[in-house]
């Protein structure tokens, strides 16, 4: 297989905890796979379930919520 499946993942991260954690991962030069794209929110409370469904509907393979 020349092209193994790589899911495209959208991550909703809370500004005060997990988004800060993602920044810290950068400052610490921790390495992780580049198939995750972050959308910053002020709190995971903001994430309307509809947005998750819309993400899948528009072709995103996985949704990660960190808060």
């Amino acid at each position: 297989m020349s092209n193994p499946f790589e899911p495209k993942i959208v991550a909703f991260l809370c500004n005060w905890c997990s988004y800060a954690g993602a920044d810290l991962a950068g400052v610490s030069r921790s390495q992780y796979p580049p198939n995750i794209r972050v959308v910053r929110v002020m709190c995971t409370g903001r994430i309307d379930p509809v947005l998750i469904l819309e993400a899948f509907a528009s072709g995103i393979d996985g949704v990660f919520i960190g808060g």
Binding site: Y19, D23, G26, V41, S58, I60
Partner: protein, 533 residues
Amino acid sequence: MREYATTLPNVVVADRNLFTCSQDTQEKIKEYIREYDLNRVVVASCTPRTHEPLFRETLRQGGLNKYTFEMANIRDQCSWVHMHEPEKATEKAKDLVRSAVAKARLIQPLADISVPVNHNGLVIGGGVAGMVSALDLAEQGVKTYLVESAGKLGGQALKLYATYQGDRVQPYVEDLIDTVNRHPLIHVYLNTTIQDASGFVGNFTSTLVDKQGKETQLDHGAIIIATGGKPYEPEEYLYGKDPNVLLSLELDQEFIRGSDRLNHTKCAVFIQCVGSRIPERPYCSKACCTHSIQSALTLKKLNPEMNIYILYRDIRTFGEKERLYTEARARGILFIRYDPEDPPKVEKENARLTVTVTDHVLQRPLQISPNMIILATAVVPHDTRSLSKLYKVSTTPEGFFLEAHMKLRPVDFATDGMFLAGLCHFPKPIEESIAQAKAAAARAATILAKESIDMEPIVSVVDEDNCNGCGICERVCPYGAMHLIEINGLITARSTPASCKGCGLCAASCPSKAVDMCHFSQHQIRAQICALA
């Protein structure tokens, strides 16, 4: 990347810089705003958590509303974490920029929310740190509430004999207590603790409760926590089992009282690091090396014939305090280093105390028969859990309160409007507690002196025409910022922007989609997601 960005919809100009946060680049951004008549700016660089305020200010100076700005985090969350996959990282960076541009097209200019400030201050803990903070606030004209759980002000300093320079602590503390009690702007609440708290910077409300259960509600604009600490009371070394085994502060009380038994003591042993610098409590209690050496010198002055031994792991008489260490050695006080793996043993036989310690130079056990043993035990915090929960402030694993940043914001909590001082933050000598207390008062005054403060307008808005008055938003709001009201016989929700924290729970929960968030609207987030797909 630059070329790619110019292909995105509505992008009129894109440029790259070596240091986007430099002064030169800020000027360049302002020039671009004028030259191209821009109405949105996107910066693709580091994280908005640290740099958004800087760029917003640049937009403001360039004549744009500061909220018409968006950032793509292509450093902390891209180039730094995918260092070995440059192609894939570049693809990801393009996606992140596309997503930021998609959001930028939809963001709206917003006005800061101005909230009036309550000018009163609250200080929790009436030790030296709390009293100094309260007095410094009051001297600046601030009405200050000082809450103390014990029946008397003063804290640990009431038991302390002298500063490292030899000045007596008692007259200072008594004088301080007196000044605080007589100050017309300081209201002291003894035997009182905090039961409940709410609010935010500039507008806190705390409920106090005294021993009789009487409640008092106070409004205030800032808080200083100075709840102090206490000596660790050990099980080991026969403490509590023999009256001749004392804690450092108990020996101090004998000095303060002028106890006669000190004149008859022939031999004294100090044991250092009791309960400090061990796995459960890895920190150094900082004041105890100086404290023991100073007490040893005081004993020598009372009775020059006394044999005094200090059993230590490392001597930490930092800075000027080294002078005391030198003096102690010159006066014949003996220092014996012990290994934490093989600590001294204290035994009692026929009312005689014996200390056995392995000298690290001789590599042999030594036996000493002292009349008195003084334990330099760790400084531990009082229970900080309840306050940390009520005011949502952090503590260290050992239970000390944690400042926002050790170097850049040393007396601030991460929560706005909250400050800390003294032993509740970490063990420290009295002069450092006083310096910190003064710093905390000065920081609190920067808020209390203002008429109003500006808050980010990332708040909920209700579309009253679409609201069916179900009240779900009111129920889910953790901050009491949503309320149902009646207008012309119709029930609708309305939010209070000054109390809203922008969490978005209401917007995510509203079945009619009648609530949305400023700057994080459903539309904007949807556009970001679609741009990433």
